[in-house]
Symmetry: C3
Subunit: 396 residues, 3 copies
Amino acid sequence: MPRITNGETEAEQREVEAFLADPSANPQVKHSWRPYLEAKLGFRNHWYPAVFSHELNGDEPKPVKLLGERILLRRVEGQVCAVEDRCAHRRVSFSAKIECYTKDTITCWYHGFTYSLRDGTLVQVITEPGCALVGKMRIKTYPVQEAQGMVLLYLGDGEPPALADDIPPGFLDTDVAVRGIHREVNSNWRLGAENGFDTTHIYIHRNSKFMQTTDALLPLGLVPTSKHSMDIVEGPGPKGVIDKLADNYTPVFASTLDTVTISARMRPQGQAVAYRVSMWLPCVLRVEEFPSPGITQFEWYVPVDEKTHRYWQVLGKKVGTTEEAAAFRAEVDSYWEDVALRGFNDDDIWAREALEDAYTEGAGWTKERLFKPDMCIVEWRKLASKYNRGIQRETR
Amino acid sequence: MPRITNGETEAEQREVEAFLADPSANPQVKHSWRPYLEAKLGFRNHWYPAVFSHELNGDEPKPVKLLGERILLRRVEGQVCAVEDRCAHRRVSFSAKIECYTKDTITCWYHGFTYSLRDGTLVQVITEPGCALVGKMRIKTYPVQEAQGMVLLYLGDGEPPALADDIPPGFLDTDVAVRGIHREVNSNWRLGAENGFDTTHIYIHRNSKFMQTTDALLPLGLVPTSKHSMDIVEGPGPKGVIDKLADNYTPVFASTLDTVTISARMRPQGQAVAYRVSMWLPCVLRVEEFPSPGITQFEWYVPVDEKTHRYWQVLGKKVGTTEEAAAFRAEVDSYWEDVALRGFNDDDIWAREALEDAYTEGAGWTKERLFKPDMCIVEWRKLASKYNRGIQRETR
Amino acid sequence: MPRITNGETEAEQREVEAFLADPSANPQVKHSWRPYLEAKLGFRNHWYPAVFSHELNGDEPKPVKLLGERILLRRVEGQVCAVEDRCAHRRVSFSAKIECYTKDTITCWYHGFTYSLRDGTLVQVITEPGCALVGKMRIKTYPVQEAQGMVLLYLGDGEPPALADDIPPGFLDTDVAVRGIHREVNSNWRLGAENGFDTTHIYIHRNSKFMQTTDALLPLGLVPTSKHSMDIVEGPGPKGVIDKLADNYTPVFASTLDTVTISARMRPQGQAVAYRVSMWLPCVLRVEEFPSPGITQFEWYVPVDEKTHRYWQVLGKKVGTTEEAAAFRAEVDSYWEDVALRGFNDDDIWAREALEDAYTEGAGWTKERLFKPDMCIVEWRKLASKYNRGIQRETR
């Protein structure tokens, strides 16, 4: 069983609370998330989704960029292979002009250097058969696993950990059907993660299409009750921060400003959603009972480069039969993608891109001034700083 | 009465003249304008025009950028308020999505942090009513004054000086009617100032629409007579350099090159224009008797960022009645804007942008080779270096 | 007679071979091409083509950029003059708005500074006739020569060497007719040079229009025979590396990969082409018997800036009469330009631009892993490092 603490020791909790009340008095708190601040390109030695399985049609190769690394994917006899998308000779990208003469090789368009996609070994040089480097030179390969219709890569060194260690609990369960989309967002991955996990950002969704279309009841904000409400899951297994919205927060449905009242959208039979939200290493959010009771939304904010992340939005639901699974996927395609994945989360994409200027271009990381509901963000930064397996550095 | 010198001591004058004759022999002269060379973003602790009064329609907020700072303007019960355009919480720009629930507040679109526009205080957090930070946190506000139909801001620290100290004499006179335009130019503000004050750049206007349309008589160039011709106005009050074109320069109406003669555009009843030109801190030009006798042109080159300035072109005229004032404004709108503000000054905009490559991208500031008519520019650089109230540094 | 060695001493040859077999064991080899790695903007104190003679129509001035320097060309009484394209006064480019009042001067559009195109002297200031700087200030001029319908400039200091020292043997011969084109390519000049001289890159041309249209026979690759095959021409006269393709390489017409065979395009009456390829300082390639027996292709990769070179493609042929010369030029215009200069070399342009990311943006120069056929590139880098007359540094 993983160790779950209620937010470290009481002394540490008090320290964080004191920090939020007056950051200047407790600068040492920020030191505990320094690794996170350095992780512009994400954390190394973790598993990340690269593409959906169905995107690798037949054996057509597909280039992707993850954590600043160019990678080429190709399905070889059913198994997905992933290699560095650079020839070891002159370092050009294979994907600039893809040449595959056999089912399990990639040939560089420039001088015909041909590598095995299985282990990266140079197996032939078309322009110099019998080249002395054959068998002696190789390009980097990446461990690959397919799960839940997704192709995941290990970006790191040495033996990879179990895939399940980098996936939120529940997602890989065999009775869970999943369906989703991914797209590129013009913001650093951490702004994606923080926007998603941020309890109080729900304010930006109050007029979204999702709110106009569904029965969901969403407060303007959520105020933590006095008791520290987060569970810190420290492994073995996935590491994450769980924020129990339904249990430990007081929802705010109306606020006043002078004589003006700002109200959340209310409806008679409104259904409460999003009972628990949790953020997991390396960059995954889980929102339970969302966008509807019985459904869980999983989101990855996969670093592409310093200014871009790939935003994965995947819905999961427990199903009993393959018919139920198919029905759920059809429901996502025909309804939830439009109403929730776009009709709700498009607001988030906009917000993350609006944060870029303050954080990536500016001094947001040092000049920000957090408030009490940001406790979840502080806990996420601390957890990520403590349990990440390495900082990704730029490599060209 | 302000102290006016005829260009410092005679010894200093001789030094500048010697510098212009042979820069390598007197490098110390350049030291006296070092602060000016550092002022990429302009001078701090001065008043700058932000918008015309009529641009703040009703109480609709309007974002502006001055000296690299993002500022939000809004009219509150008739008074213009100006605050930093960044929420203190996560530092996003309010103007990315403006929310104003009451007449004197700005609410951040992200978490509902709401600030008073009058003093910048956090007055409410919509997502957490009763937040402990309310009343304790604030955003920066800017002193504002309206004068002559313009909204001016003080970009600086501490108590602002009198507005009149940063405005050329005459502009604020109650019997002066003014009218003008502003637009953004792709050059550093100093290139705007130097092009405008540069006596001899009139050469570029010789074929302008203004010259083809009006009776104005403009020489090809102006050569300083032997006597040093500038008045250095050192306050109290506004600080500036006055160059008395009509008194101390010999106009050049024709030049020869081999057997070729280059002539200024002459016409029988030509009217001499631009009797005196002066340049004032922080970045204002005054051209008397221009574009026509009885009219004075005022120009501000307001720093926006290192590569952009906002070019203000305002014409002023002494008037006796409100009818005369209205007639003058109509004359500017229907005639002078087209013929002079565009038909003459568009040449200047082009020239400033052509200077960018040499100065902002290149080493123009150290490699330039000034000549005698550039004395006015040297005096401006020295005055600005000596009397500015601070150098603006980049802040994010 | 120039000294020609067969690739330095045997000991040095063995060192290079050992380096190619295992770069980590012989890092000192790379030290011998360090000057080349620094020459982002090319080599100083050499002759470079600027434009074709016919591009200087009448006396219309024309701006060019070479090795990062802005230059203005104009034909004065038949002779081409070349001056710095920056006024010494405020350093703006003359070419932003060209003004020439007389046949042998350039006047700056800003203040009328007028320079002799013959020697760069300031001969007049239109805005201040009799300016004290006249006759005392000058702009840089460049030595110019016209040869074979091309205008060549010396970019350097001091007395230029003979033009012939920077031109491959044969090109300037009086019985050689030449014809060609030039265009700008988005890659550093060294990537142009290395792609052109690279023996084995012919692989990229195997399906080009040239191969589909002509009788040329082109192998997939060329493998050096055991004997070291390059001639190093060390002057006096031009310095270059000659790679005798026909004599010292074994052509590869087919390669196998598993059960797949990749074949060069074969045809019954195929004609072997490209007997010898040589690369000369400062940046010129010569390909003999190409694109057809009896024709030689000359290519310059002239540095424009760090990320751009001007690609010159000129075909030369020995002719007996002016009629033969005219016929050859017509043949280039009507056939070879389409079929070879574009139908073959467009592949090269594409390849050079695809190399940019790995070399100019990335760490290609240190991470590349050369193989035996790259011996020619190693020899070129060594020769260029040893015999260049200077490294061009950025000047603004």
